[in-house]
Symmetry: C2
Subunit: 148 residues, 2 copies
DNA sequence: GGAGTAGGTTCGACGAACGAACGGACCGAC
DNA sequence: GTCGGTCCGTTCGTTCGTCGAACCTACTCC
């Protein structure tokens, strides 16, 4: 196909994010990265993705600044892929996807849960307005230009 | 290409969500739907997406239960696409993407903001743990099987 | 009857995804 | 010293989705 249409220059934050996340392998690579996976072979084994696609996606994520390549041995030279701050910030999006998927994409609920490492308590991601602390209401939301 | 690898039967909520949202046109269609767009021609004009792709994505979203086709006139027969409850719940994911894109995908900030329809106040989406009300901390998060 | 609107389908060219095989650089064991 | 294994890719052929433009059907309005 002709290269997929790019939206990374649109004025909308969703369009720009979609340009990166608008690909399921990319999402799953990031998910694994949050799970502590850093090496090519581990991503490949865990995702069972074609190696050529994996190479391409990892390179893209590095170019976009969500991952960095860090050497972890000299001979033979090997790099691992680590999340940057920009990449780590993306966890919020994945958490929102987790919540939605858990609620809407299973018969009942998902067989796995997010937990707090220390208390062991279940974590249930939820999206709120930082200014009021309340859940979002779609119908009452508008889009405006910043200076208005 | 061979049909893209499906992940809609994986046990992970993110994988299932990614199977739907793992496509930038789908994300943008949903964004527009939240903005009140309902008709084929309006989606097409606004996104400037190939009509054939648009047809396919809309059909997929209907099949997946995020949109429904509702007739709005008889002759000639015309349907519009409306968000279902499942689709409306997806706004949380788009809001998280908005926040991330706003923070990380512009030189400064995005030229547009979300606002409350009544007060006009800016809305800043934020992801928290519903149980503690606190922001998520990636490093302190684990994945566990539900019965454990 | 000619232009316009709405919601698609069809077509050809291009190139991305898949999957399997190959390669190169190292290691350790036999 | 060569055989197997590990790690990180690249290459290749087939399949099939994307793009973009053109086309089609069923109306309405002038």
């Amino acid at each position: 196909m002709p290269p997929r249409t790019r939206t990374d220059d649109w004025p909308c934050p969703i369009a720009r994010a979609a340009d990166l996340v608008g690909d399921s392998w990319t999402v799953l690579i990031l998910r694994d990265a949050f799970g502590g996976i850093r090496r090519f072979e581990d991503f490949q084994r865990n995702l069972d993705a074609p190696r050529s696609v994996l190479t391409r996606r990892l390179r893209q994520l590095v170019d976009d600044g969500l991952l960095v390549r860090v050497p972890y041995q000299d001979r033979p030279p090997r790099d691992e892929y680590r999340l940057t701050e920009k990449g780590r910030a993306f966890w919020d999006v994945l958490a929102a996807m987790w919540r939605w998927g858990d609620t809407w994409a299973f018969e009942d609920r998902a067989p796995i849960v997010l937990t707090d490492a220390e208390t062991g308590a279940e974590i249930e991601p939820m999206v709120v307005d930082a200014n009021t602390g309340r859940p979002l209401e779609v119908r009452a939301t508008r889009i405006r230009s910043r200076r208005d």
